[in-house]
């Protein structure tokens, strides 16, 4: 695990022990990570669902129902009832899982829309870099993008990034009515200029080369503190975010972390974008972000 990811683990070490409720299909790697987290003093785990009874000697099992969805529902209620409760779901991350946590009526998600933030160590300078939304919102409009941005800013701040610099990406850095994502990016940029995102700077539209390199941006006449110093990449849609994250993981061989945001109660998952040994990292992210997500 890289240096900054170790820092995330150490930050989690400094938190008070929280209650962690586990649901989903038993996953040995996930459970090993949960036990490690217990050893480190992060969590006191318990599991929901009869599928976990096999590990009752290690983890207390409640609500012994065989119905995974019912167990999830109960796990969520338990985590919510606790002042500092977390949910960890070991999958499968299917439609029923997402509809359960996105259900506004249950109050799990009455304020925000759900989004996913992938976390990467930038190879050039080793800093933490956030990519969003890599998993959930297919074709976000401006309103969704505002929420996705706010979600990511909360994660960045929880990770100690005081004034996140955000690149609103598109295919080019000029506003072009034929390419609606450039309009969204320009509007977000203007909103940030007017302080509508608090202490954060959004620049956009930016193409990836002028987001990544200050000199490429200067070459195109972009005068902004964001290029070459990006904390959060805001992608125009799910295709671009998800496929770029896949190239980073599969071709670039970077380890990614990931965190679900907008859930009300922290919910730790491992998406296919992360390797199985990322459970501890994702759990640490859930612990650190805790109330803020």
């Amino acid at each position: 695990m890289s240096h900054d990811f170790k820092k995330i683990i150490r930050t989690a070490d400094q938190n008070d022990r929280k209650m962690l409720v586990i649901s989903g299909q038993p996953d040995p790697v996930a459970l090993t990570s949960v036990l490690k987290a217990r050893e480190r003093g992060w969590v006191e785990p318990l599991a929901c669902g009869s599928s976990f009874t096999g590990m009752a000697s290690q983890i207390k099992v409640l609500c012994p129902t065989a119905d995974i969805q019912e167990a999830r529902q109960q796990a969520l209620s338990l985590a919510q009832a606790e002042e500092s409760g977390l949910l960890l779901d070991t999958g499968p991350l299917d439609t029923s899982f997402f509809s359960l946590i996105a259900d506004k009526r249950t109050g799990h998600n009455d304020k925000h829309i759900l989004s996913y933030v992938s976390i990467l160590m930038a190879p050039k300078d080793g800093r933490l870099t956030l990519l969003t939304d890599t998993l959930i919102n297919k074709q976000p409009g401006l309103e969704e993008k505002i929420a996705i941005t706010e979600n990511a800013i909360r994660v960045a701040k929880a990770l100690g990034i005081q004034r996140p610099k955000i690149a609103a990406l598109s295919a080019l850095e000029l506003v072009n009515p034929a390419l609606p994502s450039t309009l969204d990016a320009a509007l977000l940029s203007k909103m940030s200029e007017r302080g509508q995102f608090g202490d954060a700077v959004i620049e956009g539209p930016l193409a990836m080369d002028n987001a990544e390199s200050a000199s490429a941006a200067r070459h195109k006449g972009i005068d902004s503190p964001v290029p070459g110093d990006v904390d959060i990449y805001l992608f125009p849609d799910l295709e671009s975010a998800n496929l770029t994250a896949q190239f980073l993981a599969w071709v670039g061989r970077f380890q990614l972390g990931g965190i679900l945001v907008g859930t009300g109660v922290p919910i730790v998952i491992r998406s296919f974008l992360e390797t199985p040994d990322s459970w501890l990292l994702n759990l640490a992210l859930g612990i650190i972000a805790n109330k803020d997500i």
């Binding site: 499968p92 994502s181 990836m208 080369d209 070459h219 896949q246 190239f247 993981a249 599969w250 670039g252």
Partner: protein, 298 residues
């Protein structure tokens, strides 16, 4: 298939020199690449742009212009059109983009292609080298088509497959990219992928294999990415995905990227921020592509 750009450069040296239009060479890196391309026997440059600006930059890098042909045309669209006309009449083999907005070249290329072969869809292919993958692979279309529908995707693939054939890749592996959600599969890019696989089966795309997998996760669930199984052509669902992806490969994954646009001509379209070395490789790639007939398909 070529394994890396070095092999392309070596091949180009066997082919050259070819006459090439350099559009708006009034940038030191562009001018140096044109000068050294000529010195190394790759190209005979025809410089197209504002004569005064060309002379000023040539002076800056101590380049005597005596032996170079200059066509004085400072108006960007006129100059781009002039370059395409020269390809049409066979005066030059391909066009290199210099210090000019790509839009002008795209417009000229689209216009020329429409005249000569309206069924063809001009599109950009980026050629990549990436660490751990022992061959050049391509991503299309990160440049011209914003949100191609199935018909347009078919045309883009026909072009891409043809270009790869020209580079000696007899049966390119094609991945029609679609995001992996894990919980939803009925998106237009997924449907198009299925349809394109069918068209490939009917021989409508030229000799190629459209893969069932629609992203790297599906193709390599164990994350062991192997060169022989790696796609030769990635078709992206929209221009944002393509553009962000190709630039992620050189800026974050630290691989290499070369942009080329195809229609009734080969147009090299490096980014304006690309430096000297990228531009030299770009000349070589343009040469190999032009010599393979990539811009002349019916």
């Amino acid at each position: 298939m070529y394994r890396n750009f070095q092999e392309i450069v070596a091949k180009a040296k066997e082919i050259g020199p070819l006459k090439v239009a350099v559009l708006f060479p009034d940038d030191p890196d562009v001018m140096r690449a044109a000068r050294d391309g000529a010195k190394e026997g790759l190209i005979e440059p025809v410089l197209v742009g504002n004569r005064l600006r060309i002379e000023a930059v040539a002076n800056e890098i101590n380049l005597p212009l005596k032996e170079m042909e200059i066509l004085d045309q400072g108006e960007p669209q006129e100059a781009a059109d002039l370059c395409l006309d020269m390809v049409k009449t066979g005066k030059v083999a391909f066009v290199v983009k210099g210090n000019i907005l790509t839009t002008y070249l795209y417009r000229a290329l689209i216009r020329t292609t429409k005249q000569l072969d309206p069924d063809q869809a001009p599109c950009t292919l980026c050629f990549h080298e990436a660490p751990g993958i022992d061959k050049i692979f391509t991503i299309t279309d990160p440049g011209v088509n914003i949100l191609p529908d199935l018909t347009l995707k078919e045309k883009i693939l026909v072009k891409a497959v043809n270009v790869l054939h020209g580079l000696g890749c007899a049966r390119p592996r094609v991945m029609v990219l679609a995001a992996h959600h894990g919980y939803e599969s009925d998106t237009s890019s997924v449907r198009d992928a299925v349809a394109l696989k069918q068209l490939a089966g009917e021989g409508r795309l030229g000799e190629c294999e459209v893969l069932t997998a629609q992203n790297l996760y599906q193709a390599f669930p164990g994350r062991k990415v192997q060169t022989e199984d790696f796609p030769d052509i990635f078709l992206v669902p929209n221009i944002e995905t393509g553009n962000i992806l190709v630039k992620t490969i050189d800026h974050i994954v630290l691989g290499k990227r070369q942009g080329m646009t195809f229609g009734e001509a080969v147009v090299s379209t490096p980014s304006r921020s690309d430096g000297y070395e990228v531009r030299m490789t770009n000349l070589a790639l343009g040469l190999v592509l032009a010599a393979s007939g990539s811009g002349e398909m019916g």
